[in-house]
């Protein structure tokens, strides 16, 4: 697999490997430093497993101060750094390279403090997304962004990628739910951004860092915003004869001033795959399925669902299943939440992540189907319909290199289509290496150069997560565009 290029490792760095490891060993205890080939293998890729690169070494600092010392040393030695949370990036955001040191967050997984009056919580960056919500669930609170990988992914990784989830329609994405963060800069300096209050003034560095994919520094602590759980939540499952009818229903729900907490969409193939795996009782005769979830008291949910069901009926809904119990709710969500895993049982797949204006959903679904058929492949669609964030799963056989290339080509065509209808390349997974070479399709040279100059303001030596997001000659472009 060679479609996505990596830079050639710097032989001068490789030659200094022993010296670099000795320097790191002087800063952290042995259990925080991974050097043997066997153990480094665990860090050679993330969830974009078709690409692998063995890192020079892996450091797992325990504190901000330790991270700072490590970063200062690597900066002085001119060594590249790849930050890593749990390694669940679907875009290759955490894939290392041979001449880089991975700095992992796994030993910084403490919850530092919770304040229910202020509705905030301070955590180390290696805490998992789900652990945050679990820690406050008994008190009736939660942390809103809930990416599918929430059991494993870290808040540091979520900040790196500005992760979303199924409930963004109402609660926003990571950037809307982080109040503050501590970050170690490329040279080891420690900065505090924001706090446990709402508006911090000054340039919004926190907003810039969230979604910057590890290129501006390494976040070691964060203050997250907690929200109170609704009195209750209840999904309803709709089967529609066609994707068009389901798409029109979504537009009509929102057009009627109703903002459900989630609107999830599955096409026919996704329904079949998920039902075979989860036995959730999905209607196999439907052409498309929607899961719409509302929140509130029992009476409030009844009233809202009644309005939503009326709208669905206007669009020819063929199956309506309102959850009557916690078990039914879990069953309805189980199929959706296991969609990626279930698809993985049927075939290898690449998961795309473009966002389109919701008015374009049906058009894009139709075109996606055409594109994938053109390459002789199959596609299942599972996505967040309320916000237009699509997730076509392009299925292929990983052992057939020609088929993998076709799948990647189809994926790229789909993402270009998303941009062409007014959307973007990635709604929540990030650019990583996967979409790096498509950035020029969404941005002009001037747009990209401006972003790269900002990146260079944080990391002039281009040492932090290089070869991600921007063109491989980004450093030169940033320098020459500044004149």
């Amino acid at each position: 697999m060679t479609a996505i290029a990596f830079p050639k490792p710097d032989p001068a760095i490789l030659a200094r490997r022993d010296e670099i490891i000795a320097g790191l060993a002087a800063l952290v205890p042995p259990e925080c430093l991974v050097t043997s080939e066997d153990e480094r293998r665990a860090f050679e890729t993330d969830a974009l497993t078709a690409y692998r690169r063995l890192p020079l070494a892996v450091v797992l600092p325990r504190t901000t101060e330790e991270t700072s010392k490590v970063m200062a040393f690597l900066h002085g030695a001119g060594v590249k750094v790849v930050a890593r949370g749990a390694g669940t990036s679907l875009a290759g955001g955490a894939i290392p390279q041979e001449d880089a040191v991975v700095v992992g967050l796994s030993k910084m997984s403490k919850i530092l403090g919770v304040d229910f009056a202020d509705r905030s919580m301070r955590v180390q960056a290696g805490v998992t997304n789900l652990a945050i919500s679990n820690a406050v669930a008994a008190d009736g609170f939660f942390y809103a962004p809930d990416p599918s990988s929430q059991l494993a992914c870290t808040i540091g990784g979520n900040i790196g990628m500005n992760s979303g989830g199924a409930h963004c329609l109402k609660y926003g994405v990571t950037t809307n739910n982080i109040l503050g963060a501590r970050m170690v800069l490329a040279d080891g300096a420690i900065v505090e951004m924001g706090g446990d209050w709402l508006d911090s003034g000054g340039l919004d560095f926190l907003g810039l860092v969230i979604g910057s994919e590890g290129q501006l520094g390494i976040v070691t602590e964060a203050t997250v915003r907690l929200l109170r759980q609704a009195e209750g939540a209840r999904p309803v499952l709709f089967g529609f004869p066609t994707s068009e009818a389901a798409g029109a229903c979504v537009a009509d729900i929102i057009g009627n001033g109703i903002i459900p907490v989630a609107i999830e969409f599955m096409d026919k193939l996704a329904i079949e795959i998920c039902e075979a795996f989860a036995h959730a009782g999905y209607p196999l005769d439907a052409g498309a399925l929607l899961i719409v979830e509302v929140e509130g008291s029992e009476t409030e949910m009844d009233a809202q669902l009644q309005r939503i069901v009326e709208i669905a009926q206007r669009h020819g809904v063929s199956t309506v299943r309102e959850s009557k119990s916690a078990m039914e709710t879990a069953a309805i969500w189980k199929g959706r939440k296991s969609a990626f895993g279930a698809t993985g049982r049927v075939a290898d797949y690449i998961c795309m992540d473009g966002t389109v204006p919701t008015s374009q959903l049906c058009h894009v679904l139709e075109k996606t189907d055409e594109i994938v058929k053109h390459y002789g492949l199959r596609v299942a669609n599972v996505f967040h319909a309320g916000d237009g964030n699509m997730h076509p799963l392009v299925m292929y056989n990983v052992n057939d290199p020609a088929e993998q290339e076709k799948a990647e080509a189809a994926g790229m065509d789909i993402l270009k289509l998303c941009v062409d209808v007014g959307g973007c390349l990635t709604g929540e997974h990030g650019v990583g290496i996967e979409k790096r070479d498509l950035m020029r399709h969404q941005f002009s040279e001037a747009d990209l150069a401006q972003q790269m100059r900002v990146r260079a303001a944080f990391d002039e030596g281009w040492l932090l997560n290089p070869a991600k997001v921007f063109p491989l000659d980004g450093r030169t472009i940033a320098a020459t565009s500044a004149r």
Partner: protein
């Protein structure tokens, strides 16, 4: 000279032709916000207006920077929608005649009471187009609400006060306007009890969209503690009832009374012009707000009220030599938060830090980022920090 481009091409031309600093302004409603700057020419975006698209079913609009906020609010209301973040109108505190523009709302990240539940302007701003100091039109973000493609320059522009380049277009996501609202008012509470009640209410499942405490003398003789609910009528009634159980009673202001009162809270009517006292806006953690105010009071009298469940403190003080900046900065340093000197005479704003000075490494980043947009320091230099 005042330059008033009517198109983005003219805006680019104006920036490219500039050899000396340009002061950027919109409608002129909040010229008193920020440090005064020495600029030869003013770049007004007032004539760069107009809605580019509005898609109610997608809950999104794009408008040119100079479009008046009032025009957009009316457009949204006609389709039963609203700006989620309820931007404050600064006309009354400055006694200004100019009308606020949407570009300035974005550039200054202006929000209002609903910020506590629906986020700030920066949270609803999903796309910008601006002109950098090289005279290039730059796009960031777009028209979809989930977008993580590239660095988020949209966030950087929100609250940069034009120092990274004048915005030419802004794209906001919007929300349905709730069909009605009501406010629960508690009477006679001191600051600590009031903020305790606000925090309990905001930590309930009832989606409070406004949480303010007005001490005695602020918009009335006796203290009032206010909790707003916006929803369908049945939910407003149900939730008010549940809230009363949590906070122990209180009486109800109907939709019209509620709307009028929250407008006064939003626009800081308690300290409206001709009140000329210096005015501070302090964001802090609700649990430390009372202590923060008490610390400032130890150095002399203040008038104050709280929004955002106590997380936003408005403080009016005598202007004096430094508008009590030393006391206030010390209190904020002790309690945590961020203070902005929103209103003071121009000479004082040149002398005293208007924005809280960032830490040394963040200040260095601020300079480096500014230079990456505007290396010749043409665009609003000094509006936020001297020399930046």
């Amino acid at each position: 000279m005042i330059l008033s481009p009517t198109s983005e091409a003219e805006l680019i031309e104006a920036v490219r032709a500039a050899r000396a600093p340009l002061a950027i302004e919109g409608g002129g409603s909040k010229g008193g916000l920020g440090r005064p700057l020495q600029a030869q020419d003013t770049l007004s975006l007032k004539n760069l207006g107009g809605v580019i698209f509005y898609e109610p079913a997608e809950m999104v609009f794009r408008a040119r920077a100079g479009t008046p906020v009032a025009q957009l609010e009316q457009m949204l209301a006609e389709h039963g929608q609203m700006l989620p973040f309820e931007p404050m109108n600064h006309q009354s505190i400055y006694g200004a005649a100019g009308a606020p523009t949407i570009g300035a709302v974005a550039a200054c990240n202006i929000s209002g009471p609903r910020r506590i539940s629906h986020g700030a302007a920066r949270d609803s701003l999903i796309g910008v187009r601006f002109v950098n100091g090289f005279g290039e039109a730059i796009n960031s973000g777009g028209r979809v609400m989930k977008n993580v493609t590239g660095l988020d320059l949209v966030k950087l522009q929100a609250g940069a006060f034009g120092t990274l380049g004048p915005l030419s277009e802004v794209t906001f996501k919007v929300l349905p306007r709730p069909s009605t609202q009501a406010t629960l008012a508690l009477h006679g509470l001191d600051d600590a009890r009031a903020i305790g009640a606000l925090c309990r209410a905001v930590g309930s499942p009832f989606e409070i969209s406004g949480a303010a405490h007005l001490p005695a003398g602020i918009l009335g003789d006796a203290p009032r503690t206010l909790l707003r609910i916006e929803n369908v009528p049945e939910s407003v009634v149900y939730r008010l009832g549940e809230l009363q159980k949590i906070v122990g009673g209180g009486d109800t202001l109907d939709a019209a009374q509620s709307e009028a009162l929250w407008r006064q809270v939003r626009d800081v009517a308690a300290f409206a012009s001709p009140d000329a006292r210096a005015l501070w806006r302090i964001s802090t953690a609700p649990s430390r707000a009372v202590d923060l105010v008490r610390r400032v009071q130890q150095g002399g009298a203040v008038a104050h009220f709280y929004d955002w469940s106590g997380g936003l403190v408005w403080l009016a003080v005598e202007t004096g030599d430094d508008a009590r900046a030393a006391d206030i900065r010390a209190a904020v340093a002790a309690c945590g938060g961020h203070a902005t000197l929103v209103r003071a005479p121009v000479d004082l704003r040149a002398r005293v830090d208007v924005f809280q000075p960032p830490s040394a490494p963040l200040m260095a980043l601020t300079r480096a980022v500014k230079a990456s947009f505007d290396p010749n320091a043409i665009l609003n230099p000094g509006r936020m920090y001297a020399g930046v």
